[in-house]
Structure formats: C-alpha cells, structure tokens
Symmetry: C2
Subunit: 394 residues, 2 copies
C-alpha cells in the first residue's frame, strides 16, 4: 500500500493495470468489441479507446471487422490479438515425445515441431537442444518471427514452479534437475517457467477450455504416468512445494499388479499407458502410437482390446471417486489416454464412480474430455510463459 501513496507512481500504475486488464480479457476470450470491453471493465469508452490504441501501438492487438455473422447493418469492429504479434514458446514433454510450439496471444498455436524420443532416454541436456532446434525451426517457418515473450515447459513430474527445479519425474528417470536454469542458460534473457503437466493442463482448460465456467475442477491426466491438476475456488492448488496432485502411486489395491515404483496396485499400475498395453498382452514401450492403436482396436470391436478398456473403467472410476470424496469438485476433466477410456467406456466409468463416491459428491459431477484435446499441457505451458507480458504489456 505504501507504494501506492507515492503520488508520482500512481497514474502510471493505474494505466499499467488497465492495459493489463484489457489484454487479459482479449487473451482469454479472443476478439471483443470495444462496447464489450467497456462494459466488462467499467471504464469510460474514451479510456478503453485509449487503452486499445496503446495496445495496438505496442503491436499486441489489432482491430478488424469479424468475418461471417448473419447480422444486418454495420458490423462492430472487434479488438483481437494481432496476427504475427508476440508469441510464447510452449514445450510439452511427454515420455515419448517432445512438442515445441509457437503460441500467440489468445492461445492460437501458430506452428509446432514434434520430436519423438524413446521412453527413458531423454536427458535434460538433450531436451534443451530439442527446444533450441524447435524454436529455430519455428522461426525458419515464419511462424515465430514476432517477439518471443517467454518459454513455458510442461514436465511429467514434480516441479517447484518458482525455481523451475524438477523434483522427481520417474518416467523420464529424472531426479533433482535444475531444468529452469539449464534452459535459461541456453536462451539468456528469455523468461522461463517450468510446471507440472497436469497443473498446466488444468490452468489452460480453466483459462479457455472445458473448465472455463468451473472454479472447482480436477484435470486427471493419464499418459505413461498419471497425475492430477487441481483448481480450488478458481485458484491452483499446489501445496507446500507445488507437488499436489501426484496421485499416480496412490495404491488402489495392495494385491494389485506390481508397479515400477516397487509397490503393488498403484493407480499407474492399473490405468497408466504401460499398464494398459501390458493388460492387452502388448508389452513394450508405449511409444509410436501403441496406445492409440489399442484404442483404435477397441473402437473397431476387437474383443481383447475392448476387454482391456472395460477392465480399466473400474480402477479409473475408483480413482475419480477418491478425488471427488477428497476435493468435491464440480467437474473432472480426463486427459491423455483417460479421455479415450471415458469415451469408450463411459457407462462403466460412471458406474464405478457412483459405487465408490461417498454421499452426494458425485451428484451432477461432470466427467468431460479436454476442450483443448492433447494440447492442454502445451497451452498451459504457453500460458505461464505469457504471465510477464500480461501483467505488464509495456
């Protein structure tokens, strides 16, 4: 508060705050008319006009006449993110694939580079090279020639988001990796933020996806590992060290299948990608679309594949029920392979959820797939990379 009392700083701070607000609305909702902005911000039309002009001069937004629309009369101009304006680099590390994308304001993925990797072989130094190569390739393609305002990285493991340090990423074989520092060294002067994949996914879905209207939401992400990103009251629940949601090794059944962590019956040992393939009698690396082809076979009515899907529905439902009992969200988003499981066995999943949920915590709970599809973590990574620009557009 003391700072606000220095008379000189104040008007400038208010201006910055208002510029930030306008940019956040446009970033979050895409194109908006000046009238909509005026109404949302409770500011005068001329103030909004001035703010839009400044954001235009800064190369962040542009006004245009929307195409399409069935209305008669003169169409309203809308203010939207500028095409070719600044972009964030989003990096999504999956165990068998690294995606590097240029993401514009408004969450538009302008272009992406995908690198396949073999499970368990990706070293942090190699990842940094992939990110550099990806950014170079995006630049050459002409999709990343604006101002690069940050790099956001999604990691399948525990991350201290304030330092960018990865604690444990078991499926990468990483422990105590100063990933943020490594990337900063390769891209000096560029802000770098590292986060957990499920935490970033729920952030993106809350910002512009399936949880836009939900403040109490869980994103359950199933790839090789299984983890949850949690929003409570519209705020990310991170816990003491940012490790909240690391439920993949919660034990569902102490006499269940052995898990690579040394225990038996972990959630991951029932519904992680490797577990699904093992149950299907297709052991080996979940790379190269092995899980996708399992689901394709199930869709085609191939009985052994369909059986695997049905068998996974019960432990998936129990995992969801435990989260409902603990967190009482209004919506659960199932991402990665769990989206396909939900799609293929919704009734079985729902029945298991109901069986294992206490009281009315299940009533009206929506099980949904990510509106952003497989890109939720990638877009969440870009989202955190935009943070500095959004809070101070100048």
């Amino acid at each position: 508060m003391a700072r606000h009392r220095t008379a000189a700083a104040r008007p400038d701070e208010i201006r910055q705050h208002n510029l930030s607000l306008v940019l956040r609305h446009i970033h979050g909702d895409g194109a908006l008319t000046r009238a909509e902005l005026t109404q949302r911000l409770g500011l005068s039309r001329s103030t909004v006009g001035g703010l839009v002009s400044e954001l235009t001069r800064l190369g962040l937004v542009e006004e245009r006449v929307p195409t399409g629309g069935a209305g008669v009369g003169r169409p309203s101009h809308v203010v939207g993110p500028r095409r070719g304006g600044p972009f964030a680099v989003g990096v999504d590390i999956d165990v068998t694939r690294v995606t590097v994308a240029a993401v514009g304001l408004g969450g538009e993925i302008r272009a992406r580079q995908v690198f396949d990797t073999e499970a368990g072989t990706l070293r942090p130094e190699h990842l940094v090279e992939l990110i550099e190569a990806g950014i170079r390739a995006l630049g050459c393609s002409g999709h990343a020639d604006g101002r690069q305002c940050g790099i956001g990285v999604s990691v399948p493991g525990t991350v201290d988001i304030s330092t960018g340090r990865v604690g444990v990423a078991p499926n990468l074989g990483w422990e105590c990796v100063q990933l943020g520092e490594l990337i900063v060294r390769s891209a000096p002067g560029v802000p770098v933020v590292v986060g957990n994949d499920a935490d970033l996914a729920v952030l993106a879905e809350h910002q512009r996806g399936a949880a836009k209207e939900s403040d109490d939401v869980v994103f359950l992400l199933g790839r090789i590992g299984v983890g949850a990103g949690i929003m409570s009251g519209g705020v990310p629940l991170r816990g003491r060290d940012g490790h909240a949601g690391e439920i993949g090794h919660n034990v569902l059944d102490p006499s269940g299948p052995p898990c690579h962590c040394g225990k038996r019956g972990c959630i991951e040992a029932f519904i992680g990608d490797a577990a699904l393939l093992a149950t299907a009698g297709r052991p080996g690396s979940p790379a190269g679309g092995a899980v996708a082809s399992l689901f394709a076979d199930a869709r085609a009515g191939h009985e052994p594949a369909a059986h695997v899907v049905r068998a996974a529905a019960e432990p998936l439902g129990r995992t969801i029920a435990n989260l409902l009992n603990t967190l009482n969200p209004e919506r659960v988003i199932l991402g990665g392979s769990l989206a396909a499981l939900l799609e293929l066995a919704r009734d079985d999943v729902q029945a298991s959820v109901e069986r294992y949920t206490f009281g009315s915590a299940t009533r009206g709970v929506q099980l949904v797939v990510p509106a952003l599809g497989e890109d939720a973590s990638l877009l969440g990574a870009a989202e955190v990379a935009f943070a500095d620009l959004l809070s101070d557009p100048r």
Copy 2:
C-alpha cells in the same frame, strides 16, 4: 467499490473495519499490548487507543496488568477479551456424545455440558432439546450470562455451511436434515452456523492451535467416522458443496474388512473407532470410553491391545500418504482416536507414510496432535458462531 465512493459511508466503514481488525487480533492471540496492536495494524497510537476505548465501551475487551512475568520496571497493560463478555455457544456432536459449551472471545471455554447418547439413536429434534438444555444449564451456572452472539454446531457428516443443511451423517443415521433451520426455530434471532467436524477442527487449529503457522494443512479426524478438514493456502478447501475431505469411505483395500457402507476395505473399516474395537475382539458400541480403555491397555503394555494399535498404523500411514500425495500439505494434524494412535505407534505410522508417499511430499511433513486436544471441533464451532461479531463489533 462503488459503495466506498459514497463519501458519507466511508469514515464509518473504515472505523468498523478497524474495530473488527483490533478485535480479531485480540480474539486470535489473546492479550496484546497497545504497542503490539499499533505495530500490527500500522495505525497511529491515538487511533489504536480510540479503537480500544470503543471496544471497551462495547464490553468486548478490557485492559489489565498481566500477572506473573519476570520483567523489571513498570509492566505494560495488555488488552484482552473481557471476562464475562459475550460468548458463543459451541456444540460438538460426536456419535456417542453431545457437548454444549460457552466459549468466550479468545477461545476460552468458560463451561461445558456433556450429554452421553447411544450411537445411532440421536434424532435431530432430540439434539435441539439437548442444545436448549445445555444453554439453560450454562446460564444457571453463571458462565453464560453475557451476550450470546451465536450458536455453532459441529456435525460428523457432510454439511452445506451456507444453509446449515446436513447431507449425510451416516454414523448418526441422518440424511438431508435441515439442522440449521431446526435450531434457528428453537432460538429465534440467534445466528446459527452448522459445519462439518473436521472442517471446523482445522479452522480452530489454524486460528489458535497446531496449524497457526501453517497455511497448507490437513486435519484428519478419527472417531467412529473418519474425515479430513483441509486448508490450502490459508483458505478452507470446501469444494462445490462443502463436502471436501469426506475420505472415510475411500477404499484402501478392496479385499479388506467389510464396511457398514456395503463396500470392503474403506478407511473407516480399518481405523474408525468401531473397527479398532472389532479388531481388538471388543465389538459393540464405541461409547462410554471403550476406545479410550483400549488405548489405556495398549499404553499399559497389554499385548492384544498393543497389537491392534500396531496393526492400525499401516492403514493410517497409507491414508496420510494418499493425502500428502494429493494435497502436499506441510502439516497433518491427527485428531480423535488417531491422536492416540500416533502417540502409541509414531514410528510405525511414519514408516508407512514414507513407504506410500510419492517423491519428496513426505520430506519435512509434520505429523502432530491437535493443540486444542479433543476440543478442536467444539472450538471451531464457536469460531464460526463469532463470525458476525468479529466482522462488526458494534
């Protein structure tokens, strides 16, 4: 914001806000010197003096010279809650006991009335009579002759705190009980707040107990039922309907002991009071100190009792580990029978927690017993009953 711009209202609102702040500090921390208040509030000495005078005139606080203390020179006067000032009625419904207490500002329990009940026989109408009888008895004893500023009720079940409606309280046999309304009808004009026992316990421990310095904390309460109260970032985590923390029927082992809910291997079927007694070969109602005498036997080295305690340590540790993985708190408070389990088998509990916790979520996590002992839920109930007075002391 608009309201704050009406010139007339503003000074009065600021005054109310500041009175509320001073009262909250005194309520939370007990007696404070004027100098401490001045420093904490960042207000001038004369403003603080004026606020203290007004709170004194309102009969809420009083200044006194603290007794004891080894200092030399003139002792500072301290401002503390007024003895005989207003009180809240805290009601703690346990399955076999109802406690009604008069609680003063500062969290002082002035007197209590305890009613034993038989498990499963307490009807809501009977509870209302017990509360009335309790309040009458407290008044006759002279401990409740100040201004009664509200009734707070702790229930072992799901509660919508905004309406006072109990959803499910399985161990009471209650479903969909408009408890808040029933109590209001019996005590017209008195504010009534109803909450879940573990939620209220974590509130009280965060306010003035074992979680005073912790903003990410879980209170795991084990009586006949088992439930958790959760604080995340200093804010109660309630979820969509206020049912968060209802983990008692999360399944630890699908081939575990049968649970009264129809499933097998629920947390409650391993570490709830009835389960502990059943394992000890002492089936029957957990009323009348049966669990306390089990723990007394274990303390005395009675082998079958000690065995029950040791056997409960593993599932208790796993329950805690699941909470650590999901919520990553810095502190877990074990209340009710779980406090005794921790005290009697800390090493076994800790080993189980470590075995089942992912990554570093367990590192430095403190397992503690409630600073408020068995009174955490009772004091939490009084706490919510004080809410109106604290926000507007006039």
